[in-house]
Amino acid sequence: MGVTTAARTAAWVGLFLATAAPVPAQGMFRGDAAHTGVYGGKAPRELHGVKWRFATGGPVLSSPVLDGDTLYFGSGDGNVYAVDAVTGVQKWMSSTRGAVDSTPAVDQGLVFVVSFDGGLYALDAATGRHRWRFDTEGERRFEARGLHGLAPKNQTFFDAWDMYLSSPVAAQGAVFFGSGDGNVYAVEETSGALRWKFATGGVVHASPAYDGGTIYVGSWDSYLYALDAASGREKWRFKTGEDAVMHNQVGFQGSPAVASGTVYVGCRDAHLYAVDAATGKQRWSLPTQGSWVVASPAVAPGKVIFGTSDSKLLFALDPQSGKPVYQQPDNSYLFSSPAVAGDTILVGKMNGSLLARDLETGKPLWEYQTDGSKQNAGWLLKADRSHNDATTFRAGDYGTSAGVERLFSLGAVASSPLVARGVVYFGSTDGFLYALY
């Protein structure tokens, strides 16, 4: 007990010292415009406790971003929040007319965020006041006949697993984002005026990555696109798998990461791809045993790190060859995009946990479990915290709202963690934003 107290005291002192140091802005999904998912500083190597948790009115699928001392994120309750990163106290709350299942981007004193009401909002970062709103042609989830094998096969079902909205990226004075209307948009940061739009053949809920004047984004139409950021002109498109029967193994839900001239992106066709950023030619691909790659990869020196859904694996691949450096089994569907800080990987799990792993080996360091996961209402989890599909998808309702809502009742962590000043921030479907140290 004495050791624990001493360790906690040391952790608090360390935290106090760390919070005094400035950190670079991490004001976009995955930390930067290229979406590398690598954060400055170090993450805790052991869990000391919950620094604070902040309650919203709906599931938090959005990932927090940091600018100065303020965290910005959205919630399924339709609000965008600004919260003091140190104290967890709300600075402001700004409403939209739909769920904000998108991660904000902060640039030039404005917060840009996409809402399920079909709008891109620009909010004053200091006050939350609406500056402008850009209307798309309307949001919608991916949908298909007989989706995932649901019956009857002629019925059109919307995909409840399509849970995220596109997270905007700000660069070159514009905001780039995708929409359920199938378009990729570029909108002027200051005015909200349309710069260009590019039509794809499917829902675009992935977040565009920006690197060197090019926007990279995948669509549910099975293509990864490279677009000129200034004009919207297509530079190349990269074709991935199709699934004409169940529409299960098709499309991009996750976002690309760009590093050293290569675009790394996971696909629901059960592959992780490495594509030449200049030409769009495949460098390598890794099959994932039929399992979706929804999570966006993190690109750390010598490793491309990502998780899979049904096969529940965390991979670290060699960026050059695509060969696994390691693959570690998990006990949960991994939708959350992993974050890397120092020598630690952090990843959210759909069973209501956040797991820290050692970057070098991939071995678990510590795990935090939300209250919903501990309560495990309806025995949705087995004793080892792995998913009990028989109770979760009890009526064959895999991929329907009912099944996904049951998963959400576990306090699932679909949000991507942010690490700053030794604190790990993430959202949960239990409606809270957590700060762990």
Binding site: W52, R53, A55, T56, G57, G58, P59, S75, G76, D77, G78, N79, G88, V89, Q90, M93, S95, R97, G98, D117, R129, H130, D371, Q375, A377, S409, D430, G431, F432
Partner: protein
């Protein structure tokens, strides 16, 4: 021996300090309280913020993360005999009755004719969500307005009343004639230049966004109800008495 005297003194000090603290166990103190209402089918997570306020004694708000509710204001907050009672538009209308407990608050949540135990732990200072302050209105917006709009197959008529209040803010009501009942109160009234935005609450929330016409005789905009929206042009129905 000296050590024993010291220990006895320490124990006395602890008792002196702990005594009043125990007595406060039945008193409600301001704070943020995080816990659950134990309704059948599983606990409902609730976050309650309570603070003292000079004018009315107590103010508060409640958040229910699983129910889309953030910062819902508490109404009729009263403290009597160590029990704090409040109402909230939660679960179709709820009454909270709480007393101070060792770690926070304990009591009941009553809704829909049912009563559930409520256990909340104090987690910090209160963060009461106050309703957003309505901005003052330019004279051209003040007064009575009316409109008709179509939401799906429903043709509706609405009457809008906007006024300025002392203290530099505004208030208003909107009544949808076909829905009957009391007028809906306006919240989050924001006027910037020619643009006006507000939310009407008290039934299914209605958001309106519009702009004052150059002649000042109409506000052109849209109503938003759930996922639906419709064009709505408010025409001036009457000029405000005495102006503003």
């Amino acid at each position: 021996m000296q050590a024993k005297v010291c220990a006895a003194g320490m124990a006395l000090c602890v008792l002196l300090v702990a005594g009043p603290a125990r007595a406060q166990g039945t008193t409600v103190a301001p704070g943020r309280f995080d816990g659950v209402a134990r309704i059948p089918g599983g606990p409902v997570v609730l976050v309650l913020d309570l603070d003292r306020e000079a004018k009315s004694g107590w103010i508060g708000s409640i958040t229910a993360p699983g129910y889309g509710v953030k910062g819902l204001p508490l109404a009729e907050v009263r403290e009597e005999g160590g029990e704090l009672r409040a109402k909230a538009a939660l679960f179709g209308g709820a009454t909270l009755r709480v007393r101070g407990s060792a770690g926070g608050l304990a009591g009941t949540l009553e809704a829909a004719g049912h009563t559930a135990p409520l256990e909340l732990s104090r987690t910090g200072a209160p963060q009461v969500d106050l309703p957003p302050r309505n901005s003052a209105l330019a004279a051209g917006f003040v007064g009575q307005w009316s409109t008709q709009f179509e939401i799906g197959a429903f043709k509706l008529h609405a009457e809008l009343s906007l006024r300025n209040e002392e203290g530099g803010n505004s208030s208003g009501e909107m009544k949808v004639v076909e829905m009957g009942g009391s007028p809906m109160k306006l919240e989050a009234i924001v006027q910037e230049g020619e643009a006006l935005r507000f939310k009407a609450v008290g039934g299914m929330p209605i958001v309106y966004e519009g702009r004052l016409s150059p002649k000042g005789d109409a506000i052109d905009g849209h109503v938003y109800v759930a996922a639906l929206d419709a064009a709505a042009r408010f025409a001036r129905a009457a000029h405000p008495a005495g102006g503003n």
